[in-house]
Homo-oligomer: 197 residues x 2
DNA sequence: GTCTATATGAAGATAGAC
DNA sequence: GTCTATCTTCATATAGAC
């Protein structure tokens, strides 16, 4: 299958960050999930990392750079999953592979995925950066298939929202990862009219 | 059907606000949806309302009071819908009534509902206020029914996330309200195994 | 009920020593 | 690479005049 929306593919580069930078990114991700991006200050990130604000600024010039690094590191797994799915031999196989990986990612990293997917600052920033838009378009292409009818698009939107929203819902917070994955998979198959395998 | 989780019911009071206060609330709601709660300052709310910051503080003592007013006004329709549903003659009828109203609310007020449902500051604040917790418990009771199995809870969580998340998804932004409502209703019936009527 | 003016603190960001 | 110290701007919030 073809990759990306254009001729050249815009890749994320989650491997470009040093060990120190990754410590900052992990602290920021946790705080973003707890307080939202706007509700998280550089002072909070510095404290959680165990360094001063100035040290954080030495690693990242602006808060936006931290946000991009957080998104890049967190979405690396999604990109890998897309690579595999696009190498699949059929559309149906690609979709099944991708669904499994996306559900796993959404469940295992529930709180973080939800924060990244719903924070207004993050949404705005990512929408201004081609590699992220490209990634999302690849995702929707595989899930929707070639013929994106209104019904298909709504179903994909519901799935996407469910993966990023239902996983942190109060009604399911006490469910373990495996149970939640199994239930999400069943519901996804029901929505998409897929066989139970 | 019985109302609330306890003996006395904790009601929202959307009617307690004056005309001036409602102007502030509407401006705040719009800004919350655009920038998130943490990303919205009282200065921004004052500017959007057309008054000074001090005038806003005369109406609401703190930012939290504005947040509560915004939630109260926006959720009034949900409370009305719950009242009707709980007066229904059967559980199935109650659920069908409520689903229709909740879908209508989520679609017609997509951006605002999404903001209120997913903002970390708003979530934290509402979780500390009984009337809102009570409202949510009533909602889940009707949707889940009496026997809340794991499967039921996951389905309800997915529906809830879908109503508050899918409706603002990039894949469906260009759909008009009626189309989106119809598609959401079909998918909800599919998830819950309800007949197409 | 709204205004101007202000207090106090914390935000993002930088300079320069070590 | 990290620190202390500082700059500027903006945050929430209040005092008091009209």
């Amino acid at each position: 299958m073809s990759r990306g929306s254009g001729t050249t593919q815009l890749r994320l580069r989650a491997d470009r960050y040093s060990a120190v930078q990754l410590r900052i990114v992990r602290a920021a991700l946790e705080l973003f999930a707890l307080h939202g991006v706007s509700g998280t200050s550089l002072q909070m990130i510095a404290d959680a990392t165990g360094v001063t604000k100035a040290a954080v600024y030495h690693q990242f010039k602006t808060k936006e750079e931290i946000m991009l690094a957080v998104a890049e590191v967190e979405l690396a797994r999604l990109e890998t999953a897309l690579d595999s799915a696009e190498d699949a031999t059929s559309d149906a196989h690609a979709r099944a592979l991708l669904l499994e990986e996306v559900i796993g990612l959404a469940v295992e990293r529930r709180r973080w995925v939800h924060a990244l997917q719903n924070d207004p600052s993050m949404i705005r920033l990512l929408s201004e950066h081609e590699p992220f838009l490209d990634l999302m378009n690849r995702l929707y292409s595989v899930l929707n298939g070639e013929d994106a009818t209104t019904e298909t698009r709504v179903r994909t939107a519901i799935l996407s929202a469910a993966f990023g929203g239902a996983v942190v819902h109060p009604l399911v917070v006490d469910l373990d990862d495996e149970t939640l994955k199994a239930e999400l998979t069943r519901t996804a198959r029901r929505i998409f009219d897929l066989p139970d395998e």
